[in-house]
């Protein structure tokens, strides 16, 4: 081993090398691995094409898949579950949620609590779909949906407003069946 004055003994690692080129070992190195790879290729060839014809056809996602967010309302009263507490905004690592709260006026309630979110915006072009907002929400007001089709022509259109998040999304994504 070469002496490196700055290396301590235990720092040096010896490299394991393969056989020298030439001879049987060389031939194996040239073709053996290639054949192994070809085996996989041939096997798939017999299976036939698996291409999914997106967008006519879509890959089903797992139920836990984290797609575009949804805001929820109470089914019985129709009031928004979100109270505009901004906890989701605090949890968001991408800092892409903006909440501006306001006070409910008796007689014209928006949410069940004292306050509601007057502005609720998620900038989906920044979102990393980590789902922290869903975990942070004390009222299960925001959840991650399954939709992943969010591409758009304009960045501004990727800022989803409260109305967009509250609206029942067109379910475009098939779910994987149990155990699939």
């Amino acid at each position: 081993m070469t002496e490196f004055p700055y290396l301590k003994d235990q720092d040096a690692v010896e490299v394991q090398r393969g056989p020298e080129p030439g001879g049987v070992g060389g031939a194996y190195r040239a073709f053996g691995e290639t054949l192994r790879g070809l085996k996989t290729t041939m096997a798939r060839l017999i299976e036939g094409p698996l291409t999914i014809q997106y967008p006519e056809e879509k890959t089903p996602v797992y139920p836990r898949f984290r797609g575009r967010h949804k805001l929820h309302k109470f089914e019985d009263t129709g009031l928004e579950k979100c109270v505009g507490c901004s906890l989701c905004a605090a949890a968001c690592p991408a800092d892409c949620i903006r909440v501006v709260a306001a006070e409910n006026i008796p007689g014209d309630r928006v949410s069940a609590g004292e306050r509601y979110a007057a502005v609720y915006e998620i900038n989906l072009s920044r979102c990393i779909f980590c789902g922290y907002c869903e975990i942070a929400c004390p009222f299960d007001a925001i959840t991650m949906g399954h939709d992943y089709e969010m591409a758009d022509y304009d960045r501004d259109d990727l800022i989803f407003t409260k109305e967009m998040l509250l609206a029942e999304p067109i379910e475009r994504t098939p779910l994987r069946a149990e155990g699939e």
């Binding site: 901004s86 006070e103 609590g113 004292e114 306050r115």
Partner: protein
């Protein structure tokens, strides 16, 4: 406090402490954190109400509250034993028994001590399964503060504030035991000038501001430290800024300035920054809409240039040091005129100012705390510099400082004063004379001008450390009385004694020191020949002044004799007005430039005690508002004079270069807390007192408050004087949350006068003088002098300034409306 140095052991660490100090504070210095709810040294003696701060002290079998246990030498304290931890988690569990835990909707969420302590010291779960206590929520404690009784911990903090700091005694915990709830007598609204402080004090979300209700969370905002410039107290504030707009103002503790309190003006005044009446772009007379900046500056410059030599003038009001400095430079250097003044009508003469401002005579705000006696003369701190009111109360309550009050009008401090006297308006000079005589024992013991100076002298005589808090008007035109008083009290000799001015303008001291005086340039250097405010007005009417700059003043509202001001401004050839809001004055101006608010401004100001403080830009400027120093520098350039100023720092450097006693003070020295120039590197450069030269000069000041003869036989009903109310002006009118406080014109009378004039409180009267009449409502007040009534200056309607000025008092006819 004995001040003896001792050591104790907290969690195995040796901690140095002063005898008599509370254990919690000593532990904190040793980096041991003990959770507290009710402990707040600003509120005075600890009460030990919440039991959160329990610790184990060796030798004492039971746990002790560290917030109210004074340290002893050799004490051994444990804050982390099982017993303490058990107690802490039990206290948290107990406090949460009735707490609704509605953090998501609570405004305190994210900055709540209860949340932090529950996470840090709480058990994490509760065994309580019964129903919690319920109250209606939220309810209005006042139009500005919401109270949620369910959240209250019964820590007594706000009760102590109300009883021991503000001393309004309105707040109480009612009922006992588990029924305790916060409230006021008979559920009356808690309306008091400092009540916003309780929202800072409450350790939970029980008391929250309506103005900040649901506006933001701590992680949505930035805190921007600056200084409030709404009055001479210059409290240190922190603006809570969201989306570049001020959403809240909170105190930024600075014991040298404000002691950590704010008045409601400073706390809730911020919504006027966004008022519709705000001037947000330059405007030219006759042109609809805003003007181009370049055009406006050229027009302003052309108008100023067109005036004859020396026929221009400037009046400065609400301005930073840099702005004042630039205005006076434009006047003196670009336009060759000495007519630059700050203020409303009268002023203090240069040589008096030099005498009174000598560092040996000047008091620090902090000196009030430790004074033996305080004399308040010619000012009601509550209206003129609110935070001083709290400061003086603190000294009286905690240190037993003696307090003497000598004013024209009753003050809120009278109640706690050892002596309170009323003198006749305008008779300050004579009263001071009496007082000085009484102090030296040569008084005749009689009360002249209705006030018995010997009562005041008795309070002050034996005190060494006397702080004199004097209203600017005391020295108007002639400061010799004040100086004689300082001499009689031996102020220069005693450490901790001093004089503290309460001026009319928030930055009066700074403006004077940077040269906004007709007879003094930067650094109070002697200049000659300028006109004062009243002179400028007369000059405008007579044609001696043709062109005028108004910077942050509204003469048609705030100056005495508004009618004369109106015709003076109408007679002017050219008026350039810098104003924050549209008002009657801007309506007459040829060019209007927008002013920045104190949340937008970048500059320095000088506290009445000499402390240079920095106002920092915190919020964005609405519309097309530009930095004021920049406009002034450009205006100067358009006038053909290059000031060489290209930024706020260069403006400050230029002015520090010209004010010798500011020299060497850098932005770093000012920092977040300010620095008194008296303690700066160049304090010795303050001009020395001129030697008295032979005969005393006869000082005749224009409109000098003259003495009126008081005779019984008179053709009028009452002498009426005026005062400036805390709540007058745009602060309430253009600011929705405070609008309810906007004062109506009120005629204050003594009970004797009310009887003589057959009036009762609540009556509507007209007050007329020389053909001008205003309406007012009568209020009968105790402790007023017979023969003098008071009206409010600057109200939106029935402004007392509309009565022709008779230098202070107005001999008025009073008639009941409808008779």
């Amino acid at each position: 406090m004995s001040g003896k140095e001792i050591t104790l052991i907290v969690d195995g660490r040796e901690v140095a402490a002063t005898e008599g100090e509370m254990l919690h504070d000593a532990a904190k210095r040793g980096d041991v954190e003990i959770p507290v709810f009710c402990y707040e040294p600003k509120l005075g003696e600890p009460v030990g109400a919440c039991r959160m701060c329990l610790v184990e002290i060796e030798g004492i079998p039971k746990l002790q509250t560290s917030c109210s246990t004074p340290v002893r030498d050799g004490m051994v304290v444990h804050t982390r034993t099982d017993q303490v931890k058990h107690a802490q988690s039990a206290v948290v569990e107990f406090l949460l028994v009735n707490h609704p835990l509605d953090c998501p909707v609570c405004d305190k969420g994210g900055e709540c001590p209860l949340q932090d302590i529950t996470m840090g010291w709480g058990p994490g779960k509760t065994r309580f399964t019964d129903d919690k206590r319920h109250f209606q929520k939220p309810i209005e404690l006042s139009p500005l503060v919401a109270i949620d009784r369910e959240r209250c911990l019964h820590c007594y903090r706000f009760v102590r504030f109300s009883q021991e700091v503000a001393e309004d005694e309105q707040l109480q915990l009612l009922e006992r035991g588990d029924r305790t709830f916060v409230g006021t007598f008979d559920d009356r609204p808690y309306v008091a000038p400092f009540h916003g402080n309780i929202t800072d004090l409450c350790p939970v979300g029980a008391l929250t501001n309506y103005t900040y209700r649901f506006r933001a969370r701590p992680w949505d905002v930035e805190q921007a430290g600056s200084v409030c410039t709404l009055c001479p107290s210059q409290c240190n504030v922190s603006f809570t800024v969201r989306d570049e707009q001020v959403k809240r103002v909170v105190a930024r503790d600075n014991p040298d300035v404000d002691d950590g309190w704010l008045c409601d003006r400073g706390r809730y005044g911020f919504e006027m920054f966004a008022a519709e009446e705000r001037v947000t772009e330059p405007r030219l007379k006759g042109a609809a809409g805003g003007a181009d900046w370049q055009a406006a500056i050229e027009k302003a410059a052309a108008g100023l240039k067109a005036a004859g030599v020396g026929k221009v003038a400037a009046i400065v009001g609400d301005a930073s040091n840099e702005e004042g400095y630039l205005v006076q430079r434009i006047m003196r250097e670009a336009l060759d005129s000495e007519n630059v003044a700050a203020g409303r009508a009268y002023g203090i003469l240069r040589h008096d100012l030099v005498d009174i401002s000598q560092p040996a005579l000047s008091a620090r705000v902090r000196d009030i705390d430790a004074a033996d006696a305080i004399l308040v003369i010619g000012t009601d701190p509550l209206h003129d510099s609110p935070i001083l009111d709290l400061r003086i109360r603190k000294a009286v309550r905690r240190n037993g400082t003696k307090l003497a009050v000598a004013t024209e009008r009753p003050t809120t401090l009278d109640g706690g004063a050892d002596a309170a006297v009323r003198y006749i308006p305008n008779a300050t000079g004579a009263f001071l004379d009496d007082l000085v005589k009484s102090l030296s024992g040569s008084g005749d013991g009689e009360s002249h001008f209705g006030a018995d100076a010997s009562q005041i002298a008795d309070v002050l005589r034996d005190a060494e450390k006397v702080v004199v808090v004097w209203g600017e008007n005391v020295a108007w035109g002639d400061g010799r009385g004040l100086l004689a008083l300082a001499e009689a009290l031996n102020i220069a000799e005693h450490d901790g004694a001093g004089m503290l001015e309460v001026p009319e303008l928030a930055n009066a001291r700074g403006l004077r020191e940077v040269g906004c005086m007709p007879e003094a340039g930067p650094g109070l250097s002697q200049r000659l020949g300028g006109m004062g405010v009243a002179g400028i007005r007369d000059g405008l009417q007579s044609g001696e002044i043709e062109s005028l700059i108004l910077f942050g003043v509204d003469p048609i509202r705030d100056f005495p004799n508004t009618a004369r001001w109106k015709s003076a401004l109408a007679a002017a050839d050219h008026v350039v007005c810098f104003s924050m809001f549209e008002n009657k004055t801007t309506a007459l101006a040829d060019v209007v430039f927008p002013l920045e608010s104190h949340a937008e401004k970048d500059g320095t100001i000088t506290h009445p005690d000499g402390r240079l403080q920095r106002v920092r830009p915190s919020a964005s400027r609405p519309g097309d508002i530009r930095p004021n120093w920049g406009i002034l520098a450009e205006l100067s350039l358009a006038l053909g004079f290059d000031t060489g100023i290209s930024s706020q720092p260069s403006a400050f450097a230029a002015l520090a270069g010209e004010v010798p006693f500011y020299a060497g003070i850098t932005d770093g020295d000012i920092g977040g807390r300010g620095i008194r120039w008296q303690e700066g590197p160049a304090a010795a450069a303050f001009p020395t007192r001129p030697e008295p030269s032979g005969d005393p000069v006869e000082l005749v000041f224009e409109n000098e408050p003259g003495e009126t003869t008081y005779t019984e036989a008179r053709s009028y009903d009452l002498d009426v004087s005026t005062y400036r109310d805390l709540w007058v002006g745009p602060i309430t009118e253009l600011n929705p949350p405070l609008r309810f406080l906007s004062p109506r014109q009120t005629l204050e009378l003594s009970p004797g006068d009310a009887e003589r004039l057959k009036l009762e409180g609540g009556d509507e009267v007209t007050v007329s003088q020389n053909g001008s009449t205003i309406r007012a409502r009568v209020a009968v007040r105790e402790r007023m002098r017979d023969g003098t009534g008071f009206l409010i200056e600057g109200t939106a309607s029935d402004n007392a300034n509309a009565l022709p000025d008779l230098a202070g008092t107005i001999a008025a006819k009073i008639a009941k409306v409808g008779e």
